[in-house]
């Protein structure tokens, strides 16, 4: 493998991991507060549809993003209403939202734009664009670091940069603010929070609001940045991969990020490995490589790479006991 290949692989890794990072951070807030969130997939899809439609109709990708955020927060609130207020089964609520979104996004896309579930292709002015960081030409002559700067770090969509800045922000919010302290407490021992005089359910709704905002970015990225439209079921399981990354990362921002990068790397690799003969095994069928992230998820969840301990109170609606 040549240097250029490696650089392109790294760059692709960053690009592909980005939606996973947003979704994993979103899931982190919800799950840390004690609410199961298998619904990242559905919300991501909703965001993708709304962002692309919004950009097409209102003429700017930023409108699309804002609408996507509103939609995802609404869905998170719905999940909260069912789970926190009505104490319904959280898994069922997530499954319902996922299936509903798979159907509704494509159905409305087809109904409104008439192209079998595609939203109109966004022209360049209504789409996010790749950003070239300053001094790329000048710095690229520096050995090793130069090409890394110009090929790997520069040239991404703004979402990518936001994603990697968000991670330390999330870390900081969750571990260095009172808001984060309370969210974590609610997920571990809601009784302790109640007896400290804080409203448990309200904390969970707040966490879900943050969850909605973050996952919207993931979806908008898919349909208004790396692609120029929404197409059906475009999230392709990323919501579940993000959740697996979160679990593997033990619900911590830094380790979840590494897991996301791992998934991204695997995906980037599989595209490049298709049809390429490997030593000993020859050409691996493309489908096997495509299945790699999913297999990896199962392996991670099997706990062979360390036991993941979930927030203690997760999945249980808060009911005072006596």
């Amino acid at each position: 493998m040549e240097a250029a290949d490696i650089l392109s692989l790294l760059s692709a890794t960053l690009r592909i991991s980005t939606p996973l990072v947003f979704a994993a951070m979103a899931g982190l807030f919800a799950e840390r507060s004690g609410v199961i969130d298998f619904g990242l997939e559905g919300k991501m899809l909703a965001a993708a549809f709304v962002a692309a439609s919004g950009a097409a109709v209102f003429g700017s990708e930023w409108y699309g993003l804002i609408l996507a955020i509103i939609s995802c927060v609404a869905l998170s609130m719905l999940h909260g209403f069912a789970s926190v207020t009505h104490k319904g089964d959280q898994v069922v609520s997530c499954v319902a939202i996922n299936i509903l979104m798979i159907g509704l996004t494509t159905a409305l896309a087809a109904a409104w734009f008439g192209q079998q579930g595609l939203t109109p292709t966004l022209t360049d002015d209504r789409r996010f664009f790749e950003i070239t960081l300053p001094f790329v030409k000048q710095l690229s002559v520096i050995p090793v670091l130069g090409p890394i700067y110009s090929e790997v770090i520069s040239g991404h969509y703004i979402f990518v940069y936001i994603a990697y800045i968000i991670v330390p922000c999330v870390y900081w919010i969750v571990f260095k603010t009172s808001f984060g302290l309370r969210i974590r407490a609610v997920g571990e021992n809601p009784n302790a929070v109640d007896t400290a005089g804080i409203n448990v359910n309200l904390m969970r709704y707040k966490a879900l609001a943050v969850n909605g905002i973050l996952v919207a970015f993931a979806g908008a990225y898919l349909s208004t940045a790396i692609n120029a439209n929404f197409f059906r079921e475009m999230s392709a399981g990323r919501g579940y991969l993000a959740l697996a990354a979160l679990i593997f990362g033990k619900w911590k921002p830094k380790t979840a990020l590494i897991a996301c990068l791992l998934f991204g790397f695997t995906d980037a690799l599989q595209i490049r490995l298709q049809g390429v003969p490997l030593p000993l095994v020859g050409v691996i069928p493309v489908q096997f490589i495509q299945a790699l992230p999913y297999v990896l998820t199962v392996v991670l969840l099997a706990g062979f790479v360390g036991k993941a301990i979930a927030p203690r109170a997760i999945g249980q609606p808060y009911i005072k006991e006596h």
Binding site: T177, L181, A192, T195, G197
Partner: protein, 508 residues
């Protein structure tokens, strides 16, 4: 110095469903008191204090703090009113540090910075002032129970509690930790704090408090200045004149030893040793009553004897053969095969599947063998006939085998469990709290059945917090206090007072 009332409760009433936990309770606590509230299980002490803390709301009654009437709607309000509570089950987040647990809800700032440093300094000062040595940066899961309790106390003090309520604080402490706690409480009193101590242990009352109120079955039965009363008087008020629920029973025909418990020690889920080298023997045809207030290790003991919780050391022998020890452990199915039956303390959590119908619960645990099932197929008519017959025999009402178990009253649910476990005439019967939440009529019935078993030659261990029950059914009585057995008496002319004292930890 004239004592000022700092907390006043007037005619507090609270019911949960049809159980009245507090009936017209009125209490006056003066500033600087160490005020004790003593009573047995179900006396209503914890409920009362939970109302003061805002965890529950009273159905009626008035709460006054410093002569101002306050409607306490939530813990937030009571905290602001200067009330701090150290709960029986700690309200701590295991993964947080001491500091984080204490400031939770009272952080003072959004971003941790100056206020956090200030808080730490203030806390360090509090620790010094009250002699509460503790490492603020330690993680709760690394701390012993005694230290965790200190965190709870610090939490209350940090939130500027003037009134500190402690609910059964010494249940989980070692004797040394208890001494430490007492020292802390005394220095708190010196600093002008008021302390309310809820306990069932007379020692603590006599040692610490200056005033004591006795509660029984939701009501106040007496109030005294501690120095003006005695352990005996308090014990008697605590357990009351025994209601004449004595069952008529013939003299016991006691045979040889069936179950031998040798030096067993058992830990609870938090890794605290709850049963400390307990030994006793169960004999054929005898009812051994194990008395004691909840939380002294009886639950863990019973779970160990029935294959649900492992034994740290010691062994259990059935008819001479070791069936359980540290290395090998008989599970519930094996124990049933060996004719050891178990009526669990918590019928809804363990003894029944409330969503099942009555007939399904009547065969629970025995469902996999004939006549209830034959090569894995459930024999519906056998099950139905059996259920019908047994519901008649045990007077379970209504006699509807297909009615969902959650629709039966507590007493009838208990009878279902009893009918199931007694049905096969077990050699050993291990019973926990058989009449908890059961109405009078069913209590008599259940007691009679247990006596019948004993007359048929079963070896019975009766674990109960109801002293009446122990005294009326047992042939022999042992008392469990703080994980050890503290007294053994043949049940002839034993008085309530004697046992009550032992239950409250007075062993001389």
């Amino acid at each position: 110095m004239v004592s000022q009332p700092i907390l006043e409760l007037q005619n507090i009433n609270k019911s949960f469903g049809h159980v009245q936990a507090n009936k017209n309770v009125s209490v006056i606590v003066n500033k600087g008191d160490i005020y004790g509230i003593i009573g047995e299980n179900g006396a209503g002490k914890s409920t009362l204090m939970s109302i003061v803390f805002g965890y529950y709301r009273a159905d009626s009654g008035i709460i006054k703090i410093n002569n101002n009437t306050i409607d306490i709607k939530s813990p937030h309000q009571s905290i602001l009113s200067g009330i701090g509570m150290v709960h029986q089950h700690f309200m701590l987040v295991e993964t947080f540090t001491v500091l984080e647990n204490i400031i939770l809800g009272f952080e003072g700032e959004f971003i941790f910075g100056e206020k956090l440093k200030e808080a730490k300094k203030n806390l360090e000062k509090l620790c010094k002032d009250y002699n509460l040595q503790i490492d603020l940066d330690a993680t709760i899961s690394d701390l012993s129970v005694g230290f965790r309790q200190r965190v709870e106390i610090l939490k209350a003090l940090y939130r500027q509690a003037e009134i500190l309520i402690l609910d059964e604080p010494t249940g989980v402490l070692t004797p040394q930790e208890v001494d430490e706690l007492f020292k802390i409480l005394r220095s708190l009193k010196k600093e002008g704090k008021t302390i309310i101590l809820i306990t069932h242990k007379l020692n603590e009352i006599m040692n610490l408090t200056n005033k004591v109120t006795v509660m029984r079955q939701g009501e106040i039965v007496g109030e005294r200045n501690t120095q003006d009363t005695s352990k005996e008087e308090l014990a008697e008020m605590m357990v009351g004149r025994s209601v004449l629920l004595r069952v008529e029973k013939q003299k016991a025909k006691i045979g040889e030893v069936v179950l031998e418990i040798n030096n067993i020690s058992v830990k609870d889920d938090l890794d605290v040793m709850r049963v400390k080298k307990v030994s006793f023997k169960l004999k054929k045809g005898e009812i051994l009553g194990l008395a004691g207030v909840t939380g002294n290790g009886q639950t863990e003991l019973l779970e160990a004897l029935t294959g649900i919780r492992k034994i740290e050391s010691g062994e259990i022998k059935l008819e001479g053969t070791t069936i359980s020890s540290n290395s090998h452990f008989s599970n519930p199915r094996e124990l049933r095969e060996k004719d050891v039956a178990h009526v669990p303390e918590d019928r809804q959590r363990m003894g029944l599947v409330t969503e099942f119908n009555a007939s399904e619960n009547i065969i629970f645990g025995y469902h996999h063998k004939p006549p209830f099932s034959n090569s894995s197929i459930m024999m519906g008519s056998n099950i139905f006939n059996h259920s019908n017959a047994i519901m008649k025999e045990y007077d379970v009402r209504p006699i509807s085998p297909f009615l969902k178990t959650s629709n039966f009253s507590g007493g009838n649910q208990q009878k279902i469990i009893l009918s199931r476990e007694l049905n096969k005439d077990p050699k050993v019967l291990l019973v926990g709290q058989p009449t908890r939440g059961v109405d009078i009529g069913a209590i008599e019935f259940i007691h009679q059945r247990i006596i019948d078993m004993r007359n048929k030659g079963a070896a019975i261990l009766l674990v109960s917090v109801e002293l009446d029950e122990i005294l009326s059914l047992s042939d022999r009585i042992v008392i469990m206090f703080d994980g050890s057995l503290v007294g053994e008496k043949i049940n002839e002319n034993v008085t309530d007072r004697e046992v009550g004292l032992l239950m409250a930890g007075i062993t001389n």
